[in-house]
């Protein structure tokens, strides 16, 4: 099975993140950039399917030059090769434009299965898999907590607020995964060494035939018009339990009219 995994580089969600003052895009220059956590689960799932059914795993990333670090990290987990879409014109792309570029890149890769994270930790837009399926005219199975592959038939268990749904489709398809689906492996030393030699193809917008004015700030379908830091919450009262902490807590809840 020919599998493509979508990997996005994002600023570390454990550190402070901000938008750049000049154009209201994510400040990535000063941030500690990492693989979007959910995408590690996507890579793991792809590797498991390859191990069980054979095939090839390709990592696809759209992002600036430094996203190459995340591509190497992804490759060190075990995928065979990578495609890096980079072009200065991409800076400031909205989700709609991002999906256009990723769909164009996927068009060159002939994938049976495209696996991605259910959402990124920076934008959290949670739309990419359905946008790609819509553009490519293929199936989308989203929010999978379990995926079964039987020949060309895919079955996913998808978490919902009420419980779960079982959905099925035939390949080619896009599948997005949550962190409940597996436990991503750590890259081995051998994997890290091997990753240095794996092929990474770089593609520009011209290579993909996507006009530069349809992406980035120029082609954005939405714009951030204002950005402000929220004032940090200030700490209120803190008491130490000396036998009546529970009562004090309820006293507070009562003054706030919760009980």
């Amino acid at each position: 099975m020919n599998i493509v995994v979508l990997v996005k580089q994002v600023p570390d969600s454990g550190a402070e993140r901000t938008l750049s003052a000049s154009d209201n895009t994510v400040e990535r220059g000063s941030a500690n950039n990492v693989i979007n956590e959910m995408d590690e689960y996507a890579i793991e799932e792809a590797l498991k399917i390859k191990e069980a059914h054979g095939g090839e795993v390709t990592v696809l990333t759209m992002g600036p030059e430094r996203a190459a670090e995340s591509i190497r990290k992804a490759l060190s987990m075990g995928p065979d090769k990578a495609v890096h879409v980079q072009d200065d014109a991409l800076h400031g792309s909205c989700a709609v434009a991002t999906s256009k570029v990723l769909a164009a890149a996927l068009g060159t890769l002939n994938a049976d299965l495209i696996i991605c994270g259910a959402e990124s930790t920076d934008g959290r837009v949670q739309v990419m898999p359905h946008m790609l399926a819509e553009r490519l005219g293929i199936a989308a199975l989203t929010g999978a907590r379990k995926l079964t592959v039987d020949g060309s038939q895919l079955t996913a268990e998808r978490q919902t607020d009420e419980g779960y749904e079982v959905v099925t489709a035939a390949t080619p398809a896009v599948v997005s995964v949550w962190d409940t689906i597996n436990e991503p492996r750590y890259p081995s030393f051998k994997g890290i060494m091997a990753a240095k030699k794996k092929p990474v193809q770089s593609l520009s917008l011209a290579d993909l035939g996507v006009p530069a004015d349809e992406v980035g700030h120029a082609g954005a379908t939405s714009a951030v018009v204002e950005f402000a830091k929220r004032p940090p919450r200030s700490a209120g009262t803190k008491v130490t339990d000396e036998g009546n902490g529970g009562a004090q807590l309820v006293e507070f809840l009562a003054t706030e009219k919760f009980v």
Partner: protein, 316 residues
């Protein structure tokens, strides 16, 4: 006045979800409110009317129910082309966002997700980066397609007498690629839904094991709230994943958030930072959760929580 489409979220168990009433309330500032209902409309109509729907578009049938999301997006896209609405509002839930994503591509239109406020001109306010920043954004191509986060506004009734129109949707083969073969409702009792609850009581690793989570549930039930959990609690198998609050779980914004045995890591805060009032019980006085708690008790939750429960019972 121009129509505004509100894509209704409802559940089998609870009927019209609160977020739908919030969207209807917001929509009244944007134009004449039209609700779009998929599935069984009968029970929902009265509620939608109470909150100001002037019109209800209704589509149902196996072609819509039997497949994942795509047919609904096709139906909304057709409707948008026909009635040229001022805006489309959807819920910021998995399904709402997925419909919005497909709709945006179909119409080559911008979309904004996770809005907590929508101004009359369609400008959306989003709280981003773990609740640390506020952004105002605008759709610059097409009409505003905006998903609204639950618990953003207080729903206000404005009774109307809606006209109901049955939609016939031309569902394409491409919309039928992903079949829904089973829908399983997992038991959850009578607690309110996590993202919509006005009170949430969450437990973390400090709760110690799955059995002890009864303590969290008991307090939630006494307060009429929902139960949440930190990722550490979920990963340790104390509580199911759909109740996880945080960066990779649900975002909640209740009137009251109670954190029991939760340290307050930045990724947990990401999902609860915008709660109106925050209360914490933690035995570590240095736990970061106290930095944002309006009221914190430094102590053992196994002592503090039972005493608090007792006290709440007394006051009832």
């Amino acid at each position: 006045m121009t129509e505004v489409l509100v894509v209704v979220e409802a559940s089998q168990a609870a009927g019209v979800k609160k977020v739908t009433l919030e969207m209807l309330t917001i929509a009244r500032d944007l134009g004449e409110v039209s609700a779009v209902v998929f599935g069984d409309a009968g029970e929902l109509t009265a509620k939608l009317a109470e909150y100001g729907a002037q019109k209800i578009y209704h589509a149902s049938g196996d072609d819509i129910d039997g497949y994942l999301v795509a047919p609904k997006a096709t139906a909304v896209a057709e409707l948008v082309k026909r009635v040229q609405p001022a805006a489309v509002l959807l819920a910021s839930t998995q399904e709402g966002k997925e419909i919005a994503g497909r709709l945006a591509v179909k119409l080559d239109n911008g979309l904004l997700t996770d809005a907590v406020e929508v101004a009359a001109d369609g400008t959306a306010t989003q709280v981003v980066f773990a609740g640390s920043a506020i952004v105002k954004s605008k759709v610059t191509r097409g009409l505003p397609i905006v998903t609204v986060r639950p618990n953003s506004v207080t729903p206000a009734p404005a009774p109307a007498t809606p006209a109901v129109e049955q939609l016939t949707v031309a569902v394409t083969d491409a919309d039928k690629l992903t079949k829904v073969v089973e829908r399983v409702a997992e038991q959850k009792g009578s607690r309110p839904e996590l993202t919509e609850a006005s009170i949430v009581v969450s437990g973390g690793r400090g709760v110690g094991n799955a059995d002890n989570f009864k303590l969290v549930e008991e307090m939630a039930d006494l307060l009429g709230g929902a139960v949440g959990a930190s990722r550490a609690a979920v990963d340790s198998g104390y509580y199911p994943h759909q109740f996880q609050v945080g960066q990779t779980g649900k975002t909640v914004s209740p009137q009251l958030y109670v954190a029991l045995g939760i340290s307050g890591a930045i990724q947990h805060r990401a999902g609860m930072q915008t709660s109106k009032t925050i209360v914490a019980v933690n035995k570590d006085p240095e736990a970061p959760i106290f930095e944002l708690a309006d009221f914190g008790v430094v102590g053992d939750l196994f002592k503090v929580v039972p005493q608090a429960d007792e006290e709440i019972r007394k006051r009832k």
